[in-house]
């Protein structure tokens, strides 16, 4: 299995050749598109060297301790290399190994020697799965926890606290072994009571359904424009929105009040700064890099220290900025805004406590596409003939905005979808339908779910 990116980064940092090339590459990627980068010889040399290093092949684990840090490192290299559609083929998460093969018993569906239909017809597999979970202390505890949180009414008008419910669901799927979680999520049913229990598994009225059904592309783009979700990269919000970044143990909240279609003059940002405005406008990321090396001691009252190298730089560049009670850094900006990997250092060591789990929507979605996208070149219709990888990617999206679920309690006609529709897609309707069908009419995913259900 590939080494995780946090470890790979440590290995690289310990070696002077690797670390200098990595620094070069990050500078190459900051604010430049792929073609610009490939045109630069120094950048190409760095890439070539790094392709031999553990950094290039590194991956992350879902729910790992430093998941966000790991994802940031992953995207710091891969963002410049994979653009647009290519994202769908790269997953920042490590491939699922065959650890579950014994409970999965893939063979049974193809050979027809699965469970006796007469027996399975009488029993409720979803109820059995709940029992198995209840008899395991860890599973019972985390299941009871998300149920009670997702089921807790806040007020007559507010059904529940969706944010907390999502968090509790993520904890359940991250911390409980998949033999328990998959069994509850993908149990096979013969009757409606069973299927309704399966549909209810994630308490959809809180975690899934919402008053309005957003457009699927908007839902996807919400994720793609989320800085964290994508890894370090360009943020171009279309309207007022809040983004929360977890950087180290801190959060950096970016409020994109209005994003211009093109680069706009960052009105206040360059005021009081010694550097030429032009460079800043073209590539704020490079400016941040510059800040780090030449702290603008004139601007902030106190010169930046080793532990807070670029916070003062951020300070210098932000139009509005508040340090919230919990140490969150609020930045409002009216411009296209690059945050290269270095920016993440800005608030490391800032000393705030509340560390929410990263909102790695985009990475989870990318993982799903990499593992579940229907393929006509394989026997199982899955990209790598790996059902487990597909089911894991599906479960990995639960607890994020993209959370998928069964659309009804039909026992056999399995249809899953995120909570979105393609109404109002305009001329993007085709792309929207394509995105939605990756869930609703995906032979790889459907086969994987049925295979697991019949296998148990």
């Amino acid at each position: 299995p590939p080494v995780d990116c946090v470890r790979a980064n440590e290995l690289c940092a310990a070696e002077s050749n690797c670390s200098s090339r990595y620094r070069t590459l990050r500078q190459c990627l900051a604010g430049r598109d792929r073609n610009t980068m490939l045109a630069n010889k120094e950048c190409q040399a760095a890439l070539e060297v790094l392709q031999e290093s553990p950094l290039y092949d590194c991956r992350c684990k879902r729910g790992m301790k430093k998941e966000l840090q790991c994802l940031q490192i992953y995207w710091s290299i891969h963002l410049g290399l994979t653009e647009g559609e290519e994202f769908y083929e790269a997953s920042p998460y490590e491939p699922v190994t065959a650890r579950l093969s014994d409970i999965f018993r893939l063979a049974s569906i193809f050979s027809g020697t699965g469970a006796d239909p007469a027996v399975s017809a009488k029993s409720n597999h979803c109820l059995d799965a709940a029992k198995a979970c209840n008899l395991n202390d860890n599973c019972k505890k985390l299941r009871s926890s998300y149920i009670s949180i997702c089921n807790r009414e806040i007020s007559p008008t507010e059904r529940c606290n969706r944010r907390k419910c999502h968090k509790a669901l993520r904890q359940f799927f991250d911390r409980v072994p998949s033999e328990y979680t998959y069994r509850m999520l993908f149990c096979s049913c013969q009757d409606q009571a069973c299927a309704e229990r399966r549909r209810q598994t994630i308490l959809p009225s809180c975690s899934y359904e919402d008053k309005e059904k957003p457009n699927c592309l908007e839902l996807r783009s919400l994720c793609r424009t989320d800085h964290l979700c994508r890894g370090p990269g360009l943020i171009h919000g279309q309207r007022t929105r809040s983004y929360v970044l977890q950087l180290g143990v801190c959060m950096l909240e970016l409020k994109v009040l209005h994003a211009a279609t093109k680069t706009e003059d960052p009105v206040n940002c360059n005021r009081d700064l010694a550097q030429p405005k032009q460079e800043m406008r073209e590539d704020p990321g490079k400016y941040l890099e510059y800040c780090k090396e030449y702290p603008p001691s004139r601007y902030p009252p106190t010169p930046p220290t080793a532990s807070q190298p670029s916070q003062s730089c951020l300070k210098a560049c932000a139009l509005e900025r508040k340090v919230g009670r919990d140490g969150a850094l609020l930045i409002s900006t009216r411009q296209r805004w690059w945050l290269p990997p270095e920016a993440s250092l800005a608030v490391v060591g800032h000393g705030c406590k509340a560390a929410e789990r990263p909102r790695s929507h985009w990475s989870r979605l990318a993982d799903f596409h990499a593992n579940c996208r229907a393929s006509y070149q394989t026997l199982t219709s899955c990209p790598t003939d790996n059902y487990q990888a597909c089911l894991g990617s599906y479960a990995g999206m639960i607890g994020f905005d993209i959370t998928p679920n069964y659309v009804d309690s039909s026992p056999t006609g399995i249809v899953v979808s995120p909570w979105c529709s393609c109404r109002g897609s305009g001329n993007m309707e085709e792309e929207c339908e394509k995105f939605l069908k990756d869930f609703t009419e995906n032979p790889c995913l459907r086969n994987a779910i049925q295979a697991f259900g019949n296998g148990t």
């Binding site: 409720n124 109820l127 709940a130 029992k131 209840n134 008899l135 019972k140 505890k141 299941r143 009871s144 926890s145 149920i147 009670s148 089921n151 309704e196 229990r197 209810q200 308490l203």
Partner: protein, 98 residues
């Protein structure tokens, strides 16, 4: 008899008589066992005073009880009407002779 400690039992939620109709099975842990060895000077003194009828208006316990000292936080389950419920402090987590 065994000393005081945690015992466990698989039970259907509906068997617990708490008014919930659910087919789910939960693990019910309870405290049982002997506590004779945990008697203190207090218990010896109290027993003697009871024998001598110095204490009698109220019932007193002159030997330790095997009882939970901590309970499991919560257990949640789906009922037969597809509604979820959460019950607190249903199951023992630690037992002691108190």
């Amino acid at each position: 008899t065994r000393p005081c400690g945690l015992r466990e039992l698989e039970v259907r939620v509906s068997e617990l008589g708490l008014g919930y109709a659910s087919e789910e099975t939960v693990l019910f842990r309870y405290c049982a066992g002997a506590c004779e060895a945990a008697a203190r000077v207090y218990d010896l003194g109290l027993r003697r005073l009871r024998q001598r009828r110095r204490v009698r208006r109220e019932r007193v316990r002159a030997q330790p009880c095997c009882r939970p000292t901590a309970y499991e936080d919560e257990v949640s389950f789906l009922d037969t009407h597809s509604r979820y419920h959460t019950v607190h402090e249903l199951s023992a987590r630690e037992c002691a002779c108190v």
